[in-house]
């Protein structure tokens, strides 16, 4: 499931379970490429929790979470940041992080 986050719901969306967060920018071309990769993963693995945050529209939240470039991909397990990656991730790279943290 892919959900759009904002400053009001972001914390609650990453609070439970394993969550992939895509920090993206409105005009960022690599972000659009990564968005498609996430859509494919969502269709392949329907129980993934994917949260997208537009840093152009939520600059304060982006700063609060230390986002310096987009796309930045963060992985949360029960509200705790377990992995962070700056730049586009290939599908298998995302799956490798899932394998490492989701089932612990």
């Amino acid at each position: 499931m892919i959900q759009q986050a904002n400053s009001e719901n972001f914390e609650s969306l990453v609070q439970d379970g394993f969550v992939i967060v895509d920090f993206y920018g409105t005009t960022c071309v690599p972000c659009k490429l990564f968005a498609r990769i996430l859509e494919d993963l969502d269709a392949e693995i329907p129980f993934l929790n994917i949260v997208k945050l537009n840093t152009t529209e939520n600059p304060g939240l982006a700063e609060q979470y230390g986002i310096r470039a987009v796309p930045t991909v963060q992985f949360y397990k029960d509200g705790k940041l377990v992995h962070s990656h700056v730049g586009v991730m290939q599908p298998q790279q995302v799956k490798d992080v899932i394998a490492r943290y989701m089932y612990d």
Binding site: R36, E39, D40, D42, A43, E44, I45, P46, F47, Q92, K95, D96, I98, A99, M102, Y103, D104
Partner: protein, 314 residues
């Protein structure tokens, strides 16, 4: 400027070997398959196959593989490759054992959810809401057009370089050394201003300072390179002025003002520094030279598209 174009080689007459467009069928199919993503459903039961979603329990002496209930997609590479492969071909209630490098693990399938991917329909294509796309065939044509546009853009640069070479070599010019010298000095002045704005002195720049900025290692190399490129750009400028007489292209004050504004914003500098880096005379010279290159590129792009038409629209 004293230099003159005496006779221009007609760029339409330059013989070119236009490459054929070869669609990337695999990429095309991948995009078409993507249309079905929102319509995938999951149905319970059956024998697990790659892509199906499984709920399993694991039993092992290894704590990491002692789980009452976990979910994964078989063959997706999201959990454990050996256990994912083991589960393929199993049904709910069945147990199999795998020997992992860490030790033995018994896997019992609790439930299988079959991935059901519907056939591609025109409704799925229409749901994309792309202008003019109402059917799968229309979407395929849209994707083909995107691929061809990209291929045309790449081919056009290569073809335009061949056109440029032929036109420069086969046109007749009267070239004054003073104009060439002035073009070189303007370009060096431009580099000098940019270096100054970065806190450097062009004539004293080191190979490390040139690296990543200009593809030379010394000022002497830069002068030699500029002399060579300006011999071409002087002739391109004359041809650009010639083309402009027929196609209406013009260098304007408004265009120059917009350029200065854009330059200052891009390089975080002032309009005065932008003007120092690119005086109006240099801007005008470069614009006409660039216009000739754009005429050749657009011609090459047209030739590529004419040779590689798309299938008829739906």
């Amino acid at each position: 400027m004293q230099s003159k174009l005496v006779a221009a080689k007609d760029y339409h007459e330059v013989a070119l070997d236009i490459p054929a467009f070869v669609p990337d069928q695999a990429a095309l199919q991948k995009e078409l398959d993507r249309l079905r993503n929102p319509y995938v459903t999951w149905e319970p039961g059956g024998t697990a196959a790659a892509g199906d979603m499984l709920r399993c329990s694991l039993h092992s002496a290894l704590p990491r593989f002692q789980k009452d209930s976990i979910r994964f997609v078989a063959g997706s590479g999201m959990y454990n490759p050996t256990l994912e492969a083991l589960a393929i071909g199993m049904q709910a209630g069945e147990t199999r054992t795998a020997t992992l490098p860490e030790g033995e693990v018994a896997l019992t399938v609790q439930a299988v959810q079959k991935r059901v991917v519907p056939a591609l329909t025109d409704e799925m294509a229409a749901a994309c809401k792309l202008p003019g796309v109402r059917t799968v065939a229309g979407y395929r044509r849209y994707l083909l057009a995107q691929q061809r546009d990209k291929a045309a853009a790449q081919a056009a640069w290569t073809l335009a370089a061949r056109i440029k070479r032929a036109v420069l070599d086969e046109s007749a010019f009267v070239l004054c050394k003073a104009d060439w010298k002035q073009a070189v000095e303007r370009e060096l002045d431009r580099c000098r201003a940019i270096a100054r704005q970065s806190g450097m002195v062009l004539e004293q720049m080191t190979p490390e300072q040139f690296a990543g900025n200009i593809p030379v290692k010394s000022y002497a190399e830069l002068v030699a390179m500029t002399q060579d490129t300006c011999f071409d750009s002087l002739r391109c400028c004359l041809l650009g002025q010639h083309y402009a007489q027929n196609d209406g292209f013009a260098v304007t004050e408004a265009g120059y003002a917009a350029f200065l504004q854009d330059y200052a914003a891009t390089w975080h500098t002032t309009a005065e520094e932008a003007r120092a880096a690119m005086p109006k005379e240099t801007y005008t010279f470069n614009q006409y030279a660039a216009h000739a290159e754009e005429v050749w590129r657009a011609h090459a792009d047209r030739l590529y598209r004419d040779k590689n038409p798309l299938p008829d629209a739906e």
